[in-house]
């Protein structure tokens, strides 16, 4: 590896976008290498159990897509120096809202979705306002809203439909767009890819992305530079809530039912996906492609393991080890990135 870097150093820094050095110091590199490594190991252990078949890949991609849709905006918040764990409650709350409104109360799906999005945006806004106004760490604020929203979802479900779950079958077109399988891949996989592309643009191409990195890097300097720090953070909390609500709707469309129990694993999964994807927990650093690969890796380990000879119970151990390795590696990749091309000394 060091040879490659040496070559990159000696070439002109103005080389094309896809030079070896450019790729090597790309922050998504660690996530990509990790993903390939995990995939290869699992493929070796699962070759004869159809790990590499379309059905096998679709199985863990479907699982990953639901995490991925939430992990991207959560990653944005992490880059901006905040956490959002209320997603674990927003997902079932949104699913139940949609299920109740369009099921027993027979509202048209479009209207139901609109109300659900508005409800989720409201929660995200409250998160944002609380975090920016009170200076209480976002971990605590969203922990509070996680439980508050979770409790409210259960209570309201029992009040409205007398049960903590509700059945709802979406109309044909909506089902085709949001819930059906294509070659084994659920619609959510395509939505995940689409959302990734759109948010890639926001994070890495648009000026807003620059603001997100600046706010996470040093909020005070960002404020001095004229970036509306509070407004940006509130928007990011709303974005996170909206994406989570969308994931909840996809779930309803796919499984024809909604559950009101708080989705605790989602909280850990989104954070793990981001960290394995190279996002810095303290903010200021991360890439969308990294988060994407991180989510895929998580999907392989948690779900793809069923298609291999590896004992299913080991998946949690693997994730723990992977998380540690990722955090340690992220430091190395950052050093690589910051020290790159400083070889030229003139003064």
């Amino acid at each position: 590896m060091s040879d490659t870097i040496q070559i990159a150093k000696n070439s002109k820094p103005k080389a094309s976008r896809l030079s070896v050095g450019e790729l090597m110091r790309s922050p998504a590199m660690g996530a990509f290498v990790g993903m390939v490594l995990v995939f290869c190991i699992f493929a070796a252990f699962g070759f004869h159990k159809n790990f590499l078949s379309l059905a096998g890949i679709a199985n863990w991609m479907n699982f990953a897509s639901m995490i991925g849709i939430v992990a991207i905006p959560v990653g944005f918040l992490m880059i901006a120096g905040e956490l959002d764990i209320s997603v674990g409650a927003i997902m079932p709350a949104s699913a139940m809202t949609l299920g109740i409104l369009c099921g027993p109360y027979e509202l048209p799906l479009g209207l139901g979705m609109l109300i659900t999005f508005a409800m989720a945006a409201g929660i995200g806004w409250i998160n944002g306002i609380l975090v920016t106004r009170t200076q209480v760490p976002s971990f605590i604020v969203t922990l509070a809203t996680l439980f508050a929203v979770g409790g409210l979802t259960l209570t309201l479900s029992v009040i409205f439909v007398n049960r903590p779950q509700v059945a709802y079958e979406a109309p044909e077109l909506a089902k085709a767009l949001l819930g059906d399988r294509y070659f084994g891949f659920r619609a959510s996989v395509f939505w995940w890819i689409l959302l990734s592309a759109a948010l890639y643009f926001v994070l890495h191409k648009s000026p807003w992305g620059n603001w997100i990195f600046a706010v996470g890097g040093d909020a005070e300097s960002a404020r001095n530079a004229g970036i509306p720090v509070n407004r940006l953070k509130i928007s990011l909390f709303v974005l996170s809530a909206l994406c989570t609500a969308f994931a909840g709707m996809l779930q309803v469309a796919a499984f024809n039912s909604a559950q009101s129990a708080t989705n605790f694993p989602l909280i850990f999964n989104t954070i793990i996906a981001c960290v394995v994807g190279g996002v810095l927990l303290t903010g200021g650093f991360g890439t969308l492609i990294g988060i994407f690969f991180g989510t895929m890796t998580l999907g392989v380990v948690q779900q793809g393991i069923g298609y291999t000879d590896i004992d299913r119970n080991l998946s949690q151990l693997i994730i723990g080890v992977m998380l540690l390795a990722a955090v340690l590696m992220n430091g190395t990749f950052q050093k690589l990135a910051t020290s790159w091309s400083t070889s030229k000394k003139e003064d």
């Binding site: 820094p13 005070e220 300097s221 970036i227 200021g284 910051t338 790159w340």
Partner: protein, 262 residues
Amino acid sequence: MSDAKTVLELRNVDKSFGPIDVLHSIDLSVRAGEVLCLLGDNGAGKSTLIKTMAGVHAPTRGEILMDDKPINFTGPKAAQEAGIACVHQFGGTFPLMSISRSFFAGVEPTKGWGPFKVFDRKKANDIAVHEVRNFGITRIEDGDRLVGGLSGGERQSLAIARAVYFGARVLILDEPTAALGVKQSAHVLRIVNEAKRRGLAVIFITHQVMHALAVGDHFAVLIRGSIAADFKKGEKTREEIADLMAGGESMADLEAKVGIEA
């Protein structure tokens, strides 16, 4: 030098927080192309004075004039728009962002239209690298490099170059050399001279007398919230200034005391 225009002036400024008086009747002025060194020990009120000039605090009494017109800043943003830029030790730069993205944070150049405006990386890189190199940091030639890879002095220079590019007329440097080694400090002092040469009014806050003497045209020593001395270059020796900063107590006395205890 004497015919240069006074850019920023403080007249009889007092600042108190509730019952605590921090600044007492401060009179200061700085002209274009001049470096005013503000010296003072810890707790002398330097930070409050900077914040008052940068629009963070409003003076309790007295007035601030810019170009001989009284002004009232509503906040740091207003002061910035009037051309007062404050650069803290590492202020204004983001270690894990590229040089050009850091340079243009908050005012990104874009191309494209409507919601599809994209950050114009090439333009940002070209301008940022050009501006920083103009300040003598020739080691930087790639705007994509991360700020974290720069030395402390270079980061300081980047922040100063940024302030100048965005139209600063008064540059307030808050202890820019405090955390730097000798070589890096020399680097920053060179940048200060360059800013002065370009006609900026520089207010250089430090407690290192040597650094102040190297670039200053005009010195003010702050003791317990008041200006204890206000003099021009060459009017006082290094020892006299050090004595003043120590609160009038002679440095020789101080050394003697330390010597006895050790």
